[in-house]
Amino acid sequence: MTALEDALRRSMDGQVAVLPAVADQADRAIRGAGVIRRRRLVTGALAALVLLAGTAAALGGHGEPRGLPAPPADRPTVGVTTPAQVTPDAPPVVDILSASVRDGVRIWRAADGKEAALYGRPSTTVVRLDDAWLAVDNEWNLVLLRLDQQPRVLFPGVRQVAVAPGTRSLAWRTDSVMSVGTVTSDGLLVTERSTVAPANPETGPVLYTGKIVLLGGALNRGKDDEHDFWTPADGNYVRTAAANDHVVRVFGRRPDSGRLVGIVENPDGSQCLAELEFSSGMRVLRRSCDLDGYGFAGSLSPSGRRLALDLNERPTGPAHLTVLDLDALFTVPKPAVVSFGVTFAGFGWETEDSLIGTQGRELFRIQPSTGGVTPLRVPGLNPDPGAAPLR
């Protein structure tokens, strides 16, 4: 051991002699993992945005989850928009991915009110593909899941996949290659175009329109994620991620305007919620900087008008589900925001005015118009932690 080596040891020991207090690391990791799983569950149109200022609080009279923090006192309660379309305790009107990452894939189907065990392997990703589903299992196989049929491996070594909403077209990446293609009605994957995959192994398809692939990080953590585009009809993928460096996170694409909704970072390090042009450069079209504490999770409502997202109470504090009206957000100085004061491990939209969230093995219906959070106990639906709507 030289004197310099000894000095190095002392120097490093000294640097970390005092640790800052960090809370909720396990909770945040579990929540973050739930976010990743959920993002992988939602086909192309996953996602959304975060936002803003003087929030509202409202945990409806019924069904307040046990042990949850009360809504922040400094956030006024403000109702948001349309009346609920679903009775609070009615069974879900969308399919529920009730299990995927533990022992295998089970999906509760709203059509017949039954749970179907579709695959015996843990899967990190499950997305809808027309009348079937795609899974990426723990061996990185892309697998086609159909009712009453054996699972079929379509492609090995798949890291990320995104399905164009309402189609059988998909984009996927392996370690080295990125492709788009179609699953035929008889269950065959036809590759239509391939290119070299992004050098960053975490970057892959997160959204596919059928023409353009949005690339992002599966972790969707911001900062160290890069965002980019690939238009297969134009040829091979050419990296332009540097032009999109201002984008921290993308939650999804509004079906009405085609704009992306996400978080951008300003030169001073502050962050804003923004609508972005769906092309390289990701120009900011509308921006709101009234909120802060954006969490990792976010989901756009089916119309794209609303955004459900986690807002952190403080940088390392708990993330509370909040629902924003995006059109109001970008046009009104202090738009109404519904803050539920509740943390859900996973959540996703069921209808335009109803979300389903999970805490452990419990499901809750969350209704922004009333502020209600109602436990959902549905015979035959046995959710694992991380269960989520599968639109």
Binding site: L4, A7, L8, R10, S11, V16, A33, N200, L219
Partner: protein, 167 residues
Amino acid sequence: MNEQDFREFVAARSPALLRTAYLLVGDWHRAEDLLQTALTRTYLAWRRLGEIEAVEPYTRKVLVNTATSWWRRRWHGERPTEVLPEAAGPDGADALLARDALWQQVRLLPTRQRAVLVLRYYEDQTEAETARLLGVSVGTVKSQTSRALGTLRTRLGDHTLEGVMTR
């Protein structure tokens, strides 16, 4: 292993992992972020890891690999500089200053060299284990260590080095 096991693992091992994360990235906020990433990935792999003994090595590997991966380098910027911190004065500028000067120079090392030093001299990992964690050969660990120490000697200069070593 269930969720409670994970919580217990995090409670028990987070302080040590956070220290390592800080030494790898040189900033507490980024260290928290790095650790959070590692824990999130650990939780995603929790069921597959099988036994608790496999968890910490996995988390540590994620921590190190994430810190040294190219996009994270882009993220926090290496900020290499030829402008060195002032050396401790001949009148005995105290050892703390000298030690800080050493740390400042460690922070300016290329990410992988810094990681090698952290693993070797803070965590007391063997060369073989350091190589395994970084996914490189033992020879690379040796050469990176040698290069990093040489750089520190050169940059600190005799005077500051003396202050560091006689502390």
